[in-house]
Structures are given as C-alpha cells and as structure tokens.
C-alpha cells in the first residue's frame, strides 16, 4: 500500500525533559492503525505535533510525498485533509452544534453573511451519518457528554478528510454509539481514508484496527498486524512486562453494614436503596444518563435529594455539603478530574492536602507535616513527578488520577466512591489503580465504583448494582455477572 504519512525521528522536549526520543510512525492510505502505549508514552504528543499544535525539536514529517515544515499551523494541517479529535473536547460551549462544526468555515450567502439555513441542514446530514438526531441549533452546553463527542466526530469528518486521528474517542461513548463510530471508520477506510486510532480499550483495537503500533516511553517499539496478536500481547508489549488480569470474587467477609441508602429520590432518581459492607467493592453499572453519578452526588452532599435517608454505621446522617461527607469519612473521586477533581493550577502538595486540612483543626498549613504526607502519598501511589511542588496541570492523566486517590488516602476515607476511575488511564496505570483499590478494600475501606466499562466492573467488583433511568433494576454478585446480564438490567428490556 502507498503510504500517506511518514514521521521520522521526531524529538520533543517539555521543560527540558525529552518525551519523544526520535519517534517514527507510518500509515498507508485506507489503513486503520492503532497507536498504543501507556499514559505518558508520547502518543498524544506525537499526534499534536502532526496536527501543528506543538512544534517538534527535530525530525521530519512527510505527508502525501510532501514535507510539512516546522511552522505549520493547525489550520494548514486541516486544509490538507488531516483531521483530529483530541482527547479533551474542544467545543465552544455557548455556540450551537452547527456553529461548532463549521467554525471558521461557515457557509456564506450572496452578501457574505453566514448562511445559517445551509449550515444547519449540512450539520444535520453529518450528524445523521453518525446516527445522531441532535438538533443542530442547540447550544453545545445543553448536550450530554456523549453527544458532545459525536459533535466533535461530526466536525472531524466534515472536512475533506484523508487522514483522521482519533485520540480516545470512545471514552465517553456507550456501546451502541461506539459501534456506529466503528462502522463509519470502516466505511471511510474503504474510501481510502487513513485512521490513526488511539485508545486504552484494547478490545476495541482488536475489533477495529488492522495494524497496531506500540510506543513505550517515547520510543517506537513495534508495529504488528492485529490479526497476529491478542489483547494480552498488546498489553504486554505496552508495559514491557506481563499484565495480570485482576480477578475478583464474591464478597465473602462478614463485615458490618457501613452505609445504607434508603429510598433516595429526586428529579432524576427514583427510590434508590442499597447497602455497603466494610471492605466491600460494589460496582454501579448502567448506561450514560442512568443517574449513577447523580446518586453519588447525593451521597457526597453535592446534590440535595427530595427525600430519602443515608445511614452511616447505623446512624442517620445529613450531608448538606461536601465537607459533611468528608467529615463522615466519605471520599469521592469524581468523573471529571479537570472540572471537579483537582485544582490544576496548584501544586501536588496543595491538592493532596485540601481534605486533610479541612478535616483537621488549626489554621496553619504546617508545611513540614504536609510535605511529609505528600511524600508518603507520592511513594504509596507511585506518582511520577518532579517533586511535590509540581503543578498538577503538568502531570499525565494517570498520575493526576493517582493524586486524586492520594488525597482520599491521606484524608483517611472509610467509604470511597470512584466515578469512572480509569477513564483516559492506560493499562499500566490502570492496573496500579486496581491494585490500590484492592489494597484499600483489604484494609477495611468500603468502595463504590461507578463504571461504564463492563470488564472493569466484572474484574474488580464483588457485587454490582445496575441502574436504568434513575431506578435500581438489579444487583448481581460477581459469580452471577456477565456482560449480557448486566446489559439486560441496564436497558431494562
């Protein structure tokens, strides 16, 4: 096959630390190539260099036989037919769906004004290709996160695209939406469009891609035909060692009930009751929008229920705000690290200590004690950083997540709620996070995991509650779990 893109010897440093050490990457016309590697392996950086977001320190990029200069802008790159979906959503929340899709390329009418009619109908056609019925005149901030992602994808294919780069496009999508996306990619491939597909969900790679290129610590490891490898092979190549599948079983302890939720209802939730025992790992499955995150927000005091009771170790408690929950030793690792989990512009030390400081008396930070706690957490969680004063914004996704976990460890949480704890986290760090969760449970911490990733639920949870449209539709022990059973309750058919 004729190659469409060749990247050779790409080097890039940030703050004096080289993250790409002479990276090579190649893709042919119509190829669906997976790019795999742990967080921080350099996948996103490499693609951002291609997109003109970053400039590489050295190396060359050849696209359709033509060299792309170092001063190329994202706009030039797009004009040449390279389209990219970044890991983070890049939509303007206050503009409409159609305005976002055609940003800077708005169709004009005869007098040069924007032709909204054409823009909206074009947007509608594009979205229909993705099986979405979103009204193109709606503002983006009104959309659910999965819909936003579909808008992002529609935007990417609205260009005359020849090379499509997708960085974790499915992390917020459900199974059905993912299937539509995959079919679209396969059809594009038949038309000769090459796709670079980055994902931590290795099963998707095996399902969708033809080849897989593996990066480790900023260097190219190998490129293989997907037909020749298994999920386990890819995982092993990525981390450079054997990856153990975590195996959970039924809860067999006889710990007392630490948390009892009784008849919690509000606009979204309908009469939810469940119990959690000491040291238990309880999953919450369901489709996006089933009300799982909302339920967790009620327990954590962010959302006020209309009625219902939360009973902690036999005593009813009222949680009016997060601090009440924190003082009751409840911890919450939220779904959206950047918005609700971390203050990105502050240091690791600050972020790790907020809860501890709030829970304990006294008005001083006590730098030395705080520093010691932070060092402990960095060691315990094996957070990769330059030091405790490093800004959290400069850490990779997996390490940021470890900082969030670390703060609850230090705050001595007895009940820990984790909402999508491994979203955007690579295989290696994911295993570490599972190990941390398992350790916490063994030490008597009760854990609730909200996850849309079924293998994750089945792999680590001893029991799972399944929700559908604000109702609890079923509870399964680990030995009873299967993907089809969980989906049966989640769709409530």
């Amino acid at each position: 096959m004729e190659s469409i893109l060749k990247m050779r010897g790409i080097r890039k440093s940030f703050f004096g630390v080289e993250v790409l050490h002479g990276q090579d990457f190649e893709i042919s016309k119509g190829e669906i190539a997976a790019l795999c590697g742990e967080n921080g392996a350099g996948k996103s950086t490499l693609m951002k260099i291609l997109a003109g977001v970053y400039t590489c320190d050295s190396g060359e990029i050849e696209y359709k036989g033509e060299k792309l200069g170092p001063n190329i802008t994202p706009m030039d790159v797009q004009r040449r037919g390279i389209s990219m979906i970044h890991q983070e959503l890049n939509l303007l929340e206050d503009l409409t769906v159609a305005q976002n899709i055609f940003l800077c390329r708005e169709p004009r009418n005869r007098i040069g004004a924007i032709d909204y009619k054409k823009m909206n109908s074009d947007a509608k056609t594009l979205l229909a290709r993705l099986g979405e019925k979103i009204d193109p005149t709606r503002k983006v901030h009104e959309l659910k996160i999965a819909q936003k992602q579909m808008v992002e994808i529609a935007k990417a294919i609205s260009f005359n695209v020849e090379l499509l780069v997708m960085d974790e496009p499915t992390s917020v999508l459900t199974g059905k939406e993912t299937e539509i996306l995959f079919n679209l990619i396969r059809n594009l491939s038949k038309e000769g469009v090459a796709t670079v597909y980055i994902s931590h969900r290795l099963k998707e790679i095996v399902d969708l891609c033809q080849t897989v290129s593996i990066l480790r610590d900023g260097t190219f490891v190998t490129k293989k035909n997907v037909a020749d490898v298994t999920v386990k092979d890819i995982a092993t190549l990525m981390v450079g060692r054997e990856v153990k599948e975590s195996m959970a079983s039924d809860y067999n302890g006889n710990g007392e009930i630490v948390l009892e939720v009784k008849d919690v209802s509000d606009t979204m939730l309908k009469d939810i009751s469940f119990t959690l025992r000491r040291g238990e790992i309880l999953g919450f499955s369901g489709l996006v929008g089933a009300g799982r995150s909302e339920l967790m927000e009620v327990i954590f005091g962010i959302r006020k229920p209309h009625h219902g009771e939360i009973i902690l170790e036999g005593k009813p408690i009222t949680v009016k705000s997060a601090i009440d929950a924190i003082k009751a030793n409840i911890g919450f690792v939220t779904e959206d690290r950047k918005d609700t989990g971390l203050v990105l512009g502050r240091s690791i030390l600050d972020n790790i200590n907020y809860e501890f400081w709030l829970k304990n008396r006294g008005g001083m930070r006590r730098r030395r004690d705080s520093s010691k706690r932070t060092q402990d957490a960095i060691k315990e969680m094996s957070i990769r950083c330059t030091g405790e004063d490093q800004l959290v914004s400069n850490l990779s996704g997996g390490n940021q997540q470890k900082v969030v976990l670390g703060k609850w460890l230090i705050a001595n949480a007895k009940i820990l709620i984790l909402d999508e704890p491994t979203r955007g986290v690579d295989v290696g760090a994911r295993q570490e996070i599972y190990r941390i969760i398992q350790n916490l449970a063994n030490n008597g911490v009760s854990i609730i995991i909200v996850s849309s990733d079924l293998p994750e639920i089945m792999g680590i949870c001893q029991r799972t509650a399944v929700m559908h449209e604000g109702r609890l539709t079923g509870v399964l022990n680990n030995s009873e779990m299967s993907e089809s059973k969980i989906m049966y309750y989640a769709t409530n058919v």
Binding site: F300, I302, S321, A322, I323, A325, I326, F332, T334, D339, T340, G341, L342, V343, L344, G345, R346, D350, N353, Y354, E355, W357, L358, G362, G363, M364, R365, R367, Q375, I378, K379, S382, I383, R384, C385, T386, G387, E388, K407
Partner: protein, 326 residues
C-alpha cells in the same frame, strides 16, 4: 524521578530567579531609568515621599490581592473608602459643650474600619448568595456608597477637626520612615503570611483556581469568597483612616476616586492573574510602588498631568509584557 532533587546549574538557578522574581528585576530597571532621567529622584527624601503617597492605594491593593486571587474583583473600594472616611470625620468632629470629643479617636477609627468591612460583607453576600458576577455587584455597591457620602456631605466637602495625634498617622514618621508605609508594610507581612502559611490562604488560591473542584473538595467556597471581600473592605477602612488623617476632610465627589482602579492596576502589574488562582503579595507591593514612582516622575520631569494616564497605561503594558510566561 520520584522526589529526587537534581543538582542545579547556575544557569538553571538564574532562570528560576527570573521566573519567580522578574517583577523585582523590572522594578529595579525602572528605578535605574528614573535615576538617570532625574538624579533628584534618588534623594532619600523623595523616595520616602513616594512611599508615603503610594501607601493609601497600596493598602487597598493588598486587600484587593485576596479578592483577585480568589477569582473576584472589587470596584467599590474607592467609594467605600470615602464613605468610611466620612463616618470617621463625622465622629471625630463631634464635641461636647465642654469642648472634649464625644467619642475617643480609637473608637472613631474602629467604626471607620468596621464600616469598610461591612461593605465588604455586603458585596460578598450578594455575590455568593444571589450568584451575581462580582463586577456588577461591586460596581453597583460602589455607586450606592458614593451617593451616600454625597448625601451626608450635602454635596460639599466634609470638614473635620485637625487633631495632632490623629494627623500623626498619615503625616508622621517612625525612625524616618513614613507611618503610612509602615502600616502598609505590616499589613503586607501579615497578608503574605496568611496567603502562604495558613489554610485559609491556600483555600483562596484553590477557589480562584477551580471553584468546582474546591466545592467538591469540601472547601466552603462562599465563605472564603465573603472573607476576601471583607478583607478588601477592611483595607478600604484602614486606607480611609490614613487619608483622613492627612486631609482631615472628605471631598465627597473626588475622595478615593479611581483608587479601586489604581489598586487593581497595582495587583495586575504585580503579576497576579486576573483570572484568579495565582498571585503574590510581594508583586502587589512592587506594583503600587511602581505606580507611586510614575506619579512622582511626572512631577519631576514636569510632564503635563494630562499625560499621566498615557504613561501609566504604558507602564502597565510594559510590566505585564515583561512577566508574560510564554
């Protein structure tokens, strides 16, 4: 990589100093330029005079640093200063028939500071409970405060009595250093301590950096914000005390006019991010002293006072440009 401190080269140390203290470097460059343009500028008397004159806005700027780091802004400080100053004057000029003051001076000063703080509380409460943008709330409260002074002063200047011990606050010196600057310096030390060593200071940074994450972390976001507005209100009260001590009068329409903008300018020139979450007291000190120097140089070089805005604007742009982080 975990927790290992690398041996740093001289170059790296210089880079770090530039990163953290570029504002101080800019400050000395400005002083050097001024010294060359007008040698009289460097005379100790002149320098001390600058510190005295700039300290009133400086005190407000110190409080403003909290509000801006916390992600807010206060446009009411100038009028609030005039209002609390007017209260101080009213109280200090009340005398009994025997000619002795009705209220002791300390009590009048205390009331003045409390009025400033109360306006801060009002600002904070409206902003957090009614969930309105600080820009609009403090603008409106400022307009109200200004109108109240004008009403109580019947549109004219409110004249007070000259009391020697009171005058000393604004016009006196201790060991040759102007008292107003000593007050500002003490406040600066206190505020620096609060921002860097206390939990409260940490939470102010957190709230300004990411309000949502702060709320999920259990920080009482509303309370922290209200406190920051109360601090700048208190500072307006302290500034009023100094100003009244020097003037012994409130010109109802012009007293404290533009002070809020000068204070915000000083904070921004000092490198505090207007978007919140980042900033330092040291920067604010340098910021307001630079503004004082500019005012002083205008007189030294005999430049038309009408051009002072042009020069100040350029200084802001220059200072902010110098500390821009790529």
């Amino acid at each position: 990589m975990v927790g290992i401190k690398k041996q740093q080269s001289v170059g790296e140390i210089l880079v770090r100093i530039w990163k953290n203290y570029s504002i101080v470097v800019v400050f000395f460059i400005i002083i050097a330029i001024c010294g060359i343009l007008a040698p009289r500028f460097l005379q100790p008397n002149n320098l001390l005079n600058i510190l005295r004159n700039t300290s009133i806005v400086g005190v407000i700027a110190l409080g403003m640093t909290f509000v801006i780091i916390g992600g807010g802004i206060d446009l009411s400080s100038g009028p609030v200063m005039a209002t609390s100053g007017a209260a101080l004057i009213f109280m200090q000029r009340m005398v009994t028939e025997a000619g002795t003051p009705v209220y002791p001076l300390w009590f009048a000063i205390l009331v003045c500071c409390l009025i400033g703080t109360a306006f801060g509380l009002l600002n904070g409460l409206i902003i957090t409970k009614a969930k309105l943008p600080p820009f609009i709330v403090t603008l409106a409260v400022g307009i109200i405060a200004r109108s109240l002074v004008m009403y109580f002063g019947r549109g004219a200047t409110i004249m007070g009595n000259r009391i020697i011990e009171f005058t000393r606050i604004g016009s006196g010196s201790i060991f040759g250093i102007p008292t107003p600057f000593i007050i500002a310096a003490l406040l600066a030390f206190l505020f620096h301590f609060i921002l860097t060593k206390t939990k409260f200071g940490t939470y102010v940074f957190a709230v300004g950096g990411n309000e949502n994450a702060s709320r999920y972390s259990g920080i009482k976001v509303d309370r922290i914000k209200i406190y920051t507005y109360m601090i700048v209100g208190l500072c307006a009260g302290i500034a009023a005390t100094i100003e009244m001590s020097r003037m012994a009068a409130v010109a109802v329409t012009t007293s404290g006019s533009q002070y809020e903008f000068e204070a915000i300018t000083a904070v921004i020139v000092g490198g505090t991010a207007l978007s919140g979450g980042r900033g330092r007291i040291l920067g604010t000190i340098v910021g307001f002293v630079i503004l004082g120097i500019v005012n002083n140089m205008m007189i030294m070089l005999n430049i038309s006072p009408y051009l002072s805005g042009a020069v100040k604007g350029s200084v802001i742009l220059f200072a902010v440009l110098m500390q821009r982080k790529d």
